[in-house]
Amino acid sequence: MDIQEVQERIVKEFSLFEDWTERYKYIIKHGEKLEELPDEYRVEGNLVKGCQSQVWLTVELDGNKLIFKADSDAAITKGLVSLVVRLYSGQTPEAILTTNPEFISKIGMQQHLSPTRANGLASMVKQMKIYAMAYKSKLQTS
């Protein structure tokens, strides 16, 4: 799916909910569906800094696309992380670099994206973009 389509699709899914409890419950459920990150990836080196809860993020290249895997020890964080992974994983570095996760504010979760918020979602998005940047230049030179 095209990255913008993913974004629009997430916004549509959330438009069904009437209050915050339903939105948060969906986020938590969405996180539960995230593919489990094997223990060997849950290491210090994969931790995203700036989180009160722990967030691990890994990346690998599949053809010209990046595959992200992530996990968190907190359920809401994990849910938010799973949405961002859904947006960016399986996309090209170019698409990742040119797309901001606008859906987050559209689903009423903008407070979680503030760089000063201690949940680290902003740090994770930044980390994904750094990976995309690195792989973009790697793909260009190879």
Binding site: T21, A74, N119
Partner: protein, 415 residues
């Protein structure tokens, strides 16, 4: 509620006091705000923000240097706070009240000035396992430079210092004891009187981190016989960016300044500078004047209520909250010292503190989550962090009930 006539004159109307805090009248996420993060910062009554406002409108100029009337007005307003602080903590003199930017700054001052002058390799600094990072890191920094070492007084699982270990750790190498009066993460009230008395038998000075103690009970530095006592304005109804270091005059006089600049000098030539007298020797540069004025107003506000009444009310609320929270299945209070101030750290079975904190915030309930800048405490319990409700005298039973309801919803979410 029916009131007996004998009750009326002595009873404080806490709802009237609460009404003086404009910030508490707002809604957060569509719900009436329940503010239970007073350990991080208290709120400001209108009298304090009005005083700061009036200072800016009528009295502002730089302090201690102008011949003109406005500068004198600002200086008078700023220095009036020093007298109020001296009386509030019963210090011996105005020279013993050093203005800083907060507790952290106060402790850094002692570490950098007293520590650099007096510590040498193999000396030991005694801290406790329940210190805030502000009473660990400044000592580590000076220890690294001087070769001194940190020794740690352990605590038991209730969150009480193991005093036997304190005596065991104390030796001829001990050159400073730095302990927290009231733990910000657990609420434990430490036996600082005993610690000070013991240290003085060996002529070792004691610094007390009083950030969480001064706002909640009557502290008398002379009765305690503390050598240094540090606290912050923003935890006692004052503004941020301002704090106090109390120090005994003899000790302060023997200490070199650690920051240079204006206000702290006597005479400056390129060859040599001589220092100003106490307390200005430690107050380089233009201070946060309005914040200092604000602290004075904060002390006035607390004095009007009375620290005994405040301590009593907060204890009442602590008891109420502890009882209510203990009834919640799957909730475990972390920190159950016999002597506690109105701080309750807790865990919810199987629920990450940040998740719980997020759902509470959605309901307009402000608590703190995380390690509370006291990671060694979390390491003691082998937990990533806790939720912390810290209660002030302007909270009420309804706030606690809302917290309890909020937690029930959290449990529903993650159950």
């Amino acid at each position: 509620m029916p009131q007996t006539t004998t009750d009326i004159p002595t009873k404080i109307n806490w709802e009237e006091i609460r009404a003086q805090f404009p910030v508490l009248q707002q809604e957060v996420n569509g719900k009436k705000l329940v503010y239970l993060d007073n350990g991080a910062s208290s709120q400001m009554p209108k009298s304090v923000s009005d005083r700061i406002d009036a200072y800016h409108k009528n009295e502002h100029a730089n302090v201690h240097r102008g011949i003109h009337s406005l500068s004198q007005k600002a200086t008078d307003a700023f220095e009036a706070t020093r007298t109020k602080v001296r009386d509030f903590i019963n210090a011996g003199s105005l020279e013993e009240i050093i203005y800083t930017t907060g507790t952290t700054d106060s402790i850094n001052l002692v570490a950098q000035s007293y520590g650099r002058k007096n510590f040498k390799a193999s000396d030991e600094i005694l801290v406790s396992e329940m210190e805030h990072h502000a009473n660990i890191v400044p000592w580590q920094m000076i220890a690294e430079e001087t070769g001194a070492k940190l020794k740690v007084i352990p605590m038991n699982d209730k969150g009480e210092l193991i005093m036997d270990k304190f005596y065991e750790l104390f030796s001829d190498k001990t050159k400073m004891v730095a302990v927290v009066h009231v733990s910000n993460a657990l609420g434990s009230i430490n036996p600082v009187e005993e610690i000070i008395e013991a240290a003085h038998k060996r002529n070792v000075p004691v610094l007390i981190d009083g950030a969480q103690a001064v706002p909640h009970s009557k502290v008398d530095v002379q009765a305690l016989d503390a050598d240094f006592y540090a606290f912050s304005a923003h935890k006692m109804c004052g503004p941020t960016g301002f704090g106090i270091l109390y120090g005994k005059k003899d000790l302060l006089n023997a200490m070199p300044p650690y920051r240079g600049g204006g206000d702290m000098i006597d005479k400056v030539t390129f060859e040599k500078t001589t220092w100003n007298d106490l307390p200005h020797k430690f107050e380089a540069g233009t201070p946060p004047i309005s914040a200092g004025v604000g602290l004075g107003a904060g002390i006035d506000f607390l004095n009007q209520i009375g620290m005994e009444a405040i301590a009593e009310r907060e204890y009442e609320l602590l008891e109420y909250a502890t009882e209510k929270l203990n009834q919640i299945e799957g909730l475990k209070i972390v920190g159950t010292a016999d002597k506690k101030a109105s701080v309750i750290s807790f865990l919810l079975d199987g629920i990450h503190p940040t998740d719980a904190g997020t759902i509470l915030d959605q309901q307009g309930i402000a608590v703190r989550t995380g390690h509370h800048c006291a990671q060694p405490i979390m390491q003691h319990y082998e937990i990533p962090g806790t939720l912390r409700a810290s209660i002030s005298f302007y909270n009420n039973e309804e706030d606690i009930d809302r917290l309890v309801e909020g937690i029930e919803l959290v449990k529903e979410f993650f159950g």
